[in-house]
Symmetry: none
Subunit: 218 residues, 4 copies
Amino acid sequence: MTPGGKETLQTRERLLKVAARLFATEGYRGTTIADICRHARANIAAVNYHFTSKEQLYREAWRYAFQQSIQRHHPDGEIPETAPVEERLRGRIRALICRVTDRNNLEFQIVQKELAQPTGLLREVQREALAPLRKNMEALIREILGPEVSEEEIHFCQMSVMAQCLGPMAGRHGRSSRHSCQPFWSRNRKALAAYVEHVVAFSLGGLKEIRRLHESKR
Amino acid sequence: MTPGGKETLQTRERLLKVAARLFATEGYRGTTIADICRHARANIAAVNYHFTSKEQLYREAWRYAFQQSIQRHHPDGEIPETAPVEERLRGRIRALICRVTDRNNLEFQIVQKELAQPTGLLREVQREALAPLRKNMEALIREILGPEVSEEEIHFCQMSVMAQCLGPMAGRHGRSSRHSCQPFWSRNRKALAAYVEHVVAFSLGGLKEIRRLHESKR
Amino acid sequence: MTPGGKETLQTRERLLKVAARLFATEGYRGTTIADICRHARANIAAVNYHFTSKEQLYREAWRYAFQQSIQRHHPDGEIPETAPVEERLRGRIRALICRVTDRNNLEFQIVQKELAQPTGLLREVQREALAPLRKNMEALIREILGPEVSEEEIHFCQMSVMAQCLGPMAGRHGRSSRHSCQPFWSRNRKALAAYVEHVVAFSLGGLKEIRRLHESKR
Amino acid sequence: MTPGGKETLQTRERLLKVAARLFATEGYRGTTIADICRHARANIAAVNYHFTSKEQLYREAWRYAFQQSIQRHHPDGEIPETAPVEERLRGRIRALICRVTDRNNLEFQIVQKELAQPTGLLREVQREALAPLRKNMEALIREILGPEVSEEEIHFCQMSVMAQCLGPMAGRHGRSSRHSCQPFWSRNRKALAAYVEHVVAFSLGGLKEIRRLHESKR
DNA sequence: AATGAATGAGCCTTCATTCAT
DNA sequence: GATGAATGAAGGCTCATTCAT
């Protein structure tokens, strides 16, 4: 209809957009192909035409959300590499919490549902999205704790920090949100900023304690 | 069939047991009434007969798992009320992590799926299971931080501690676990105990830092 | 509705009956579950309830037709075992041709479609229906030719006789029969009886020739 | 694309070739337009563009296979018209059995599926391919039996001979052949030649018997 | 002449629920 | 009190065909 094959691209893209949103709010099983096509104003067979199967669409929709997410948010919080390590940790934590709590960022909403109810379809999630995040966080922590702390301890510290960042993800709701109270971070930006500062302080305190214990043990 | 309604009770209980297990591993949507009845050696109509609907069975199954969980695990970690507050915090943390990582404890597996994919059917979860946990944790934290720290800060600290306890929940898998690497805490008890000690130390360090900041601010 | 669970049995049986008829005329792929259920006045889900899948229904429908067929036609043409071998051969040939050309005998119509377009679902057809037929025919032929004729020759003779019996099967039509001229054996019984006598005579002549050649070769 | 419509012709021919092969192995319903176009490296719309519909392609594909078949095999087995009638019968029988069992000869594979499962699309098959075959066979038989034998008897004899030739067609498989044992004639050429000789001998013996009966009746 | 996106009808199957014993 | 047959709505997917270039 429109010139230049634009229409074609648009249908595929519309499907991806809608699919990412619905998968994020309703989960894989809770989303039907019919829903997706209706919202994307596309034919019921469009999904199978463009993506072969619902499973494939799921994978590509997550990838789409993932790439949109890293386009919007710099994972280092735009802190230069030369800044002190505490500053860089703050940048990482802020960036991650922002990505996690951003209503328009579908990536982590899909990830969360995938973690809770693995479909086995997003193995690449681990590889491409979460593993680098963890690797990077562990590098920062190793820098703070010094080279003599065991890898297990570093791994545990990374878990502690990441858990605090991902924590606000829980209780995020889809359609059925009528039953739930709004989470704190959706009230205003100030509350979110306060939580970020809390996590930074709490984590630095925790790391300090771990290092102290390690040194006293020696 | 047998007199005294005994048979009924047995069937009912079998259904609850099986349902809790399946809901925990496969989620609400991933579990079919037929599955439940087959595993419980019950008639296909038994669920609707005993529980009116799948939704109602879901609610009662979670409650069943919840009550079994608190029967097995003392939420205070069997630390007497008179022990120092740090000891009581350690007891709480250990108890919670144990409940969360216990493969036979279905309660939190259901909770996790409910948090990620709210069906809106477990509003009571919040009220009966999680809220008391949080309340109690906040009380301990308030005791540690002193009465002058703001409620918001106490709430944030509770989130930090709880997030670390619930963190290991993520990545727990049901049927599709063939795709996943085993989590650290399933390797052996020692690793789990080490993580518990880490969370205690990290959290105490974090709380210390928060208190220090608060006092210096004054 | 009707007393005694009769209705239940009837639905299953109705499905089998209708399925056998439709599979016989339209083939496996040409028959839809919806068709079957409509003709059997059953719900669209009835097939999957009673038979799990279309494939399973196909197998059971053939078995149903097979058992009805052997109930109606005695495979030996009701010739006593003590009769001369030529008489017994005539009985066999007549019985087989009757079964093959009987419009109400669905068994061979299904078999024919299965031979032409194997679904791989009726492997038991070979074992249960055709193999015994061939075995029996070979026994008669061996009796006629004498023990010194090679197994290969006996097998070839069996093929010659069987092919003549099954030949009228070809050109049997389903829905699209408006395009085809009626086969000779549907015109009247006399034509069919004449064909039977022809096959008997032709085959006995053939066998005589084979034996003659064998003896002259010696 | 290329000038002169050459490209078109090539695409058209590729479609015909592929279609004949797929229709022969999978049958009309078992073959999809998408399959054909994929194997022929043609656009999904190519079939409808070149042949208007799948039905039309089916007809033309059979005709294509038919013409290729008669180009490769001389229907008289290359026996001169002047040879004795028995020799000419042998030539015919051998030629027909060769065509039927030749794996590369798609014509009869399509015919067989059409006979078992008439789509009503190949009415011309009867007229153009089978009828001449039968006519010719009947002429030979009439020559052997003499002019006084009834037309019905001649027709029956033709059926007997043809059935033996077409018999090996049954059990020929497409994709699902993994379930089937290999037919005798694919083992080696000697087995096939032996079967040809058997059919010739058996048929001559049968015809002799028929003539004898006819003469004795007189 | 040829293409690739798009369509709509239809197919097999699943599943929570109901109904008549 | 308990059962098993039956239902209808819906889900994912296939496929021949059409449409706009």
